[in-house]
């Protein structure tokens, strides 16, 4: 089951992941990653801007790629957009599989692509106002792992 949601309001990861696990009877394991807004470096708020014509479609294509590449029963991507504060969940990815390695690798893969190749633009609010966030070199090395790694 592919379940991709872009949400504009706070979400509770545990409720989503329990529901996702229940939707896959016979599974061996579920791996989940939840990312939250870090409050470090004086960040007061974060804004993620989507482009509705592309953002959700891109995530659905990513989910399809992960479902093809790993032996998954299902993949859940929930991504928050809009303005959010420190401690609030931004993203929740869950992969259900018969075997744990597939579930863990699929989450690792999906997060690397979500964090670096999603059609999302980010800015942070600090005491002196809003600042756009530029792409990080780390993102590119994260993606490079999946081009060469044998799975």
């Amino acid at each position: 089951m592919r379940d991709v949601r872009i949400v504009t309001q706070p979400f509770v990861p545990g409720a989503l992941t329990d529901e996702f696990a229940k939707a896959h009877p016979g599974l061996g394991g579920v791996c989940t990653f939840v990312g939250e807004v870090r409050g470090e470096d004086g960040v007061e708020a974060l804004e993620l801007i989507q482009y509705p014509a592309m953002t959700r479609k891109g995530m659905e294509e990513l989910a399809d790629t992960a479902l093809e590449r790993f032996a998954l029963m299902g993949l859940l991507i929930v991504h928050r957009v809009g303005v959010m504060g420190p401690g609030e969940p931004i993203v929740c990815v869950s992969a259900a599989a018969h075997h744990r390695r597939a579930a863990i690798d699929a989450v690792d893969f999906t997060m690397d692509y979500l964090k670096s190749a999603s059609w999302l633009w980010k800015r942070e609010k600090r005491s002196d106002g809003w600042h756009w966030i530029e792409p990080r070199a780390q993102d590119h090395s994260d993606l490079a792992r999946w081009a060469t790694k044998k799975l």
């Binding site: 993620l48 014509a53 979500l114 670096s116 966030i133």
Partner: protein
Amino acid sequence: MAVKLVFLGKLADLAGSDDRAIAAPLDWAGLLSALEPALAQAAQDDTTKIALNGALLTDKAALEAHDGDEIALLPPVSGG
């Protein structure tokens, strides 16, 4: 008879709004001449992608937009 231009990320700051309407039809030269110099320069930057109705253009110069189309100017993504 208009094309909708959408500005993402910091390009929205540069444009002063998230979107605007300009006259259709529109090709690449027409788009550049319709934009303020700073926006036109940003549009030509290799790191800026152009999408027509949600589909990325592999060759910006091939842009052909008609009434009702949506052109997006996409600066580098900063990740989720």
